[in-house]
Amino acid sequence: MAQGTVVNRPGRRKVLGVYFRNNWQLYLLLLIPVIFVIVFKYAAYPGLRMAFMNYKPAKGYAGSKWVGWETFEKIFRDKDFHRALKNSLAFNFLDLLVGFPVPIILALLLNELRFPRYKKLTQTVLYLPHFLSWVIIASVALNLFKPETGLVNILMKKAGWIEEGIPFLTEKWHWAVTYLLIGVWQNMGWGSIIYLAAITGIDAELYEAATIDGAGRLRKIWSVTLPCIRGTMVTLLIMNLGRVMGSNFERLDAFGNVQVKDFQYQLAIYIYEKGLAGSNFSRATAVGLFQSLTGLLLVLGSDWVSKRLGEDGLL
């Protein structure tokens, strides 16, 4: 009964009645999260109609005019939007390009590491950056990378490698590289866990067989480990592809400054600046809707592809 294997007998109603008498408590429990998502999430959806209005905060929904697709036409002609969209896509793709292989390589290295205590200790250390906020990471980065007072620049000057401090965080091209690498660094340890878990699941006999066949270490990685974690790799790759329209406001905000605005100006920043800071609610909502919808389509698309490839879906 607990598992509710309800049998369809003629007295269907009665059966349902018994079912609910036995299980009403489950629905009462479910009511709490349902209320939470309705009040704090679903209740925000009607606000999306702002995207099709010329919304004036002072007039509210009732007093504001409907304008149809005008706002969207405007944003697609808006240079700022083009820049934000281009930056978002470019940086998310680059993030994926550099960020995807690193956890895999790290997992392989950790798996090959022979000294168990050392391994445990280094793993603990490598997961640490994942638990620090972007504010802290960016603040520490400033201490390392400021042109005049940053430790890295000081050391390189002392070693005589450079004359002037390198503007790691204050010139847009340098910033792009630093920003991307710090992102990779922050996620590499945590990202490796999932691959280590997959590697742990590999049948030890495969390795023994490979050893008997005379395979060396690299050969075993290439012919046993990598093929065995292929599924995990594909799933994660597709899942990340589904996120290329997303954005991490905190990371961008923490690393932002006037000198790097050209590249730091991405969709999340656009929405924040036009919307909350600039009170252009309709335009910010329209861009947000665009971002959410394309994001949803990408996720659905990746799920479909992933299932077609015979991997587990995401949904």
Binding site: V6, F36, L48, Y118
Partner: protein, 307 residues
């Protein structure tokens, strides 16, 4: 995590790891060295900032502080405590974090337990209804206006309630429940006349202690680190959480400006004071981190199994 499938390594079989088929090779040291370098990148930056924060002004100005403090002084920390702003914010943030974790766990359990029961009528619908918001959000402005309508702007509640239900954590909890708690246990409890509340509180929750610990930590760390929602929804200084305060003090000011009040009687240079501020906000995490780290890994693995 600790025991790799590969070669139950020679280290465990008593004979020396320096001889035999599984002996340690040069490549082992190369790997260990690469891992060492990567690990150092995760430690040294913080060591540098920590060293700076307890060094004298002159030592820092003459750029002589690397990883070890020079002319140790705790003056910068003293002025942080005299000022009181950050200390207040720290306690406030701890309070918010605890409340958020508690509410989050209650809501998550209330969702995960029913959804882990196979025969629940309407299960796919409820699952979809609760998960949908993860894939499609209304966006910043509609949510901002909603918080306004709910009268939550500029209250601590705006940091506690809206994010309390995390679909992702719910998924982890649900897959834990459906994989670890055998159906036979429910059957037995049913036969003994237990209802769902009793099963939940007397059987399921005691068996779920590890996952409850893990998810509580996920919630707590998430709340502790997040500051975007504070930036959107809170303008009153006294209600801003620590990370947001830190971002205002160290990042937004652009130059080295940092604002502690007059009676903090600051003698440290901005450089040192900033380092101390950063350490002040980082130390709580670094101190608890080693002890709770293993729970995180467990959670990540369960999460990994179920995407």
């Amino acid at each position: 995590m600790q025991n790799t499938t590969k070669a139950p390594s020679a280290a465990e079989k008593k004979p020396s790891i320096w001889t035999g088929v599984n002996r340690v090779r040069i490549s082992d040291f190369v790997i260990a060295f690469v891992i060492l370098i990567l690990s150092l990148t995760c430690i040294l930056p913080f060591l540098h900032v920590a060293a700076k924060s307890i060094s004298s002004n002159t030592a820092v100005m003459s750029k002589a502080v690397y990883l070890w403090p020079k002319d140790i002084t705790f003056e910068a920390y003293a002025s942080i405590f005299r000022d009181g702003q950050l200390v207040h914010s720290m306690f406030y943030t701890i309070g918010i974090t605890l409340a958020f974790t508690l509410v989050g766990m209650i809501v998550t359990i209330c969702a995960a337990y029913p959804l882990s029961i196979k025969g629940l009528k309407g299960r796919p619908f409820f699952a979809f209804f609760l998960m949908f918001t993860m894939y499609f959000s209304a966006g910043l402005i509609p949510e901002y206006l909603l918080m306004g309508d709910l009268k939550l702007l500029n209250t601590p509640w705006v940091l506690i309630l809206p994010l309390a239900f995390s679909p992702y954590n719910m998924l982890i909890m649900r897959s834990f429940l459906s994989s670890t708690i055998p159906d036979s246990l429910y059957e037995a409890a049913k036969l003994d006349g237990a209802d769902h509340f009793q099963i939940l509180t007397r059987i399921v929750l005691p068996l779920s202690k590890p996952i409850i610990a893990t998810l509580s930590l996920f919630y707590a760390v998430g709340r502790w680190n997040a500051y975007a929602d504070a930036k959107y929804y809170i303008t009153k200084k006294a209600l801003q959480p620590l990370q947001y305060l830190l971002s205002n003090m160290v990042l937004s000011s652009g130059t080295d400006a940092i604002s502690l009040s007059e009676n903090a009687a600051v003698v440290s240079t901005p450089e040192v004071l900033q380092a101390a501020t950063i350490m002040f906000a980082t130390l709580p995490i670094i101190m608890v981190y080693p002890f709770v780290q293993k729970y995180f890994v467990k959670g990540a693995m369960i999460g990994a199994v179920k995407g």
